[in-house]
C-alpha cells in the first residue's frame, strides 16, 4: 500500500461516516429563532407540536439581538420571537419580517436572583452592599434585552452609576443566570421565568416595572417564509395548547392569561 492509498482509505472511511450522518432527518423543518429566556418553553411547545404533526420544529436560541442579526444576515429562520420590541422593530425596519403577522405574544418581569439560600433584599438600594466585593450578572445592556431592561431599571432607581463597575455582562440572559447558579456572581438580574427554571438560584427581590419599557415578547413570521406549514406553527405558538406550556413556565400571555 502506498502512502497515497493509505490516505485514500482514510478518506473513504470518513466519507462513509458522512453518508451515514447525512442519511438521518428529512421532511418539513420549521425554524423558530427565539429569545434565550423562552428556551425551555419553546422547546417544550416544539416537542408537543412534533408529536401531533409530521413537521420538524427546530428551536434556535440566543439573545434576541444575536438572532435578529442572524436573521438580517439571511439565517434560515421562519419565526422570530424577541424579548423586546426594539429588536423586532429593527428587523421590521429592514423589511425582514411580515408586518401583518407581527403580534405581542408574552409578557414578563424582572427579578434579582442570588445563589440558592441567599438573604432576601428589603429594597433594591441595598444591592451594592449585598454584592460585597462580588459582581452582579446581567445581560450585556448594549444589545441583550434583559440587560437593557435591567440597566434602565437601575438607572431609574439611581443605582446604575454605583453598580455599573460591579457588573458582569453576559451574552444572553441565560448566561447571566448561569453565572449566579454557579455562584460566580453574588446576584443577577434576570426574568422571573428564568429564576423558576434553575434550582441553583432564588429570587431575592422584585424589580419595579415603572423605570423600564414594559417587557413584551413580539413574535412574527420572517419575510419570505410565509407558507402554510409555518403559519400552522405560528398559530400553534399562540394557541391554547401552547398557552398551557407558557403558563407552566411562568409566562403571562399578552392578553393577561
Amino acid at each position: 500500500m502506498t502512502p497515497w492509498c493509505a490516505l485514500a482509505r482514510v478518506a473513504a472511511g470518513l466519507a462513509g461516516l458522512c453518508l451515514l450522518a447525512s442519511a438521518a432527518g428529512a421532511g418539513t423543518s420549521i425554524h423558530i429563532f427565539a429569545a434565550a429566556s423562552t428556551t425551555d418553553a419553546v422547546r417544550a411547545i416544539a416537542a408537543r407540536y412534533e408529536r401531533g404533526h409530521d413537521t420538524r420544529v427546530r428551536v434556535v436560541v440566543a439573545a434576541s439581538s444575536t438572532i435578529a442579526k442572524q436573521i438580517a444576515a439571511g439565517a434560515p429562520a421562519d419565526i422570530y420571537l424577541s424579548a423586546n420590541v426594539a429588536w423586532m422593530d429593527w428587523l421590521e425596519d429592514r423589511g425582514e419580517i411580515v408586518p401583518a403577522s407581527r403580534t405581542v405574544l408574552l409578557r414578563n418581569r424582572l427579578v434579582v436572583v442570588a445563589p440558592e439560600g441567599g438573604r432576601e433584599l428589603d429594597a433594591l438600594a441595598e444591592l451594592p452592599a449585598y454584592l460585597g466585593d462580588r459582581r452582579l450578572a446581567m445581560g450585556d445592556p448594549a444589545h441583550v434585552p434583559a440587560g437593557i431592561y435591567a440597566r434602565d431599571a437601575l438607572r431609574g432607581l439611581d443605582l446604575w452609576s454605583a453598580l455599573k463597575p460591579r457588573t458582569a455582562f453576559a451574552s444572553d440572559v441565560r448566561a447571566a443566570l448561569e453565572l449566579v447558579a454557579q455562584r460566580e456572581a453574588a446576584a443577577g438580574m434576570v426574568y422571573a421565568t428564568d429564576a423558576r427554571i434553575s434550582d441553583g438560584v432564588g429570587v431575592v427581590a422584585e424589580v419595579p416595572q415603572r423605570h423600564h419599557a414594559p417587557i413584551r415578547y413580539p413574535v412574527a413570521i420572517v419575510d419570505g417564509r410565509d407558507r402554510p406549514a409555518v403559519r400552522r406553527v405560528f398559530r400553534y405558538l399562540r394557541g391554547s395548547e401552547a398557552a398551557e406550556i407558557w403558563r407552566e413556565h411562568g409566562f403571562v400571555r399578552a392578553d393577561g392569561t
Binding site: P3, A6, A62
Partner: protein, 230 residues
C-alpha cells in the same frame, strides 16, 4: 457501553461531517499553496505567506464575521453563489465546514510545506531528465514523498475543525441538527440549567474522539514511514 442520546449522536455526526469536508475541501488547496510557497519565488510572497497565516492569529470571531460579510446573503460572494447556483453557505453545515477549513488552512499549509521542502529536488530533476513530464513527476515523485506531511496536515486540519467554535458560531449560528457541532452543543449545555452533566458527557466524547484520531494517525504515520523508507 454507554448509550448516546439522539442529540449527542446528532452533534457528533455533524462534527465529523464538518471536519471531514473541511479537510477534503481544504487539503488540495493547501497542497497547491504550500507548493507555491515552497518552490516558487515571486514578488509579494511574504504577503501571501502572511495572508495564509492570518486565521491562525486573528480572533476566530473576526474570521467568522469576515466569512459572513463575504458569503452572507448580501455579501459579494454569497449573493453571487445564490444568484448563479442557488447555493447558500451562511447558516448551513457547509458553511461550518468552510469556517473550519479556513481556520485549519494555515496548519495544513505549514505541515505540507515542511515536507515539500524536505523532498530532494534532485530526485525530481532526475525524473525530468529521464523524460517524465511535470505532472508525472508530481504524481510519482513529489506526492508520494510528501505523503507523511499530507497525512499530518489532514490530521491537524481534522483536529482543528473538530474544535472550531468562534468562527463557526459567528458565521453559521447555533442551529440544532444543522450547525450545532460538538463545541457549540457543549456551549449550549453550559448555559442550560442543570446542563452540566450533559456538557460533561459531550466533553468526554470529544476527548475520546481526539484520542482515537491521534492513535489512528500514529498507526498510519508509522505505516507510511515504513512504505516511504522501504
Amino acid at each position: 457501553m454507554v448509550e448516546l442520546s439522539p442529540i449527542e449522536v446528532e452533534a457528533l455526526t455533524l462534527s465529523l461531517r464538518v471536519a471531514t469536508w473541511a479537510v477534503v475541501g481544504g487539503l488540495p488547496l493547501a497542497m497547491a499553496v504550500a507548493w507555491i510557497l515552497a518552490r516558487r519565488d515571486f514578488p509579494g510572497k511574504t504577503l501571501v505567506d502572511g495572508l495564509v497565516h492570518l486565521p491562525l492569529v486573528l480572533p476566530p470571531v473576526v474570521v467568522g464575521y469576515t466569512l459572513l460579510v463575504l458569503f452572507g446573503r448580501d455579501g459579494p460572494i454569497g449573493a453571487w453563489l445564490d444568484a448563479t447556483l442557488g447555493v447558500t453557505i451562511a447558516f448551513t453545515w457547509q458553511g461550518a465546514a468552510l469556517a473550519s477549513a479556513v481556520m485549519a488552512f494555515p496548519l495544513m499549509v505549514r505541515a505540507i510545506r515542511l515536507s515539500l521542502e524536505a523532498v530532494d529536488p534532485r530526485l525530481e530533476s532526475a525524473a525530468r531528465t529521464l523524460g517524465a513530464g511535470r505532472a508525472d513527476v508530481f504524481a510519482t515523485i513529489t506526492l508520494p514523498l510528501t505523503g507523511p506531511g499530507l497525512l499530518t496536515a489532514a490530521i491537524l486540519g481534522f483536529a482543528r475543525s473538530l474544535g472550531e467554535f468562534g468562527a463557526t458560531i459567528t458565521f453559521v449560528a447555533n442551529i440544532p441538527g444543522e450547525t450545532r457541532t460538538l463545541p457549540l452543543a457543549i456551549y449550549s449545555l453550559i448555559q442550560t440549567p442543570d446542563g452540566e452533566r450533559g456538557a460533561l458527557r459531550l466533553a468526554v466524547i470529544a476527548v475520546l474522539l481526539a484520542l482515537l484520531a491521534l492513535a489512528g494517525s500514529e498507526i498510519l504515520a508509522r505505516r507510511l514511514r515504513r512504505r516511504v523508507a522501504g
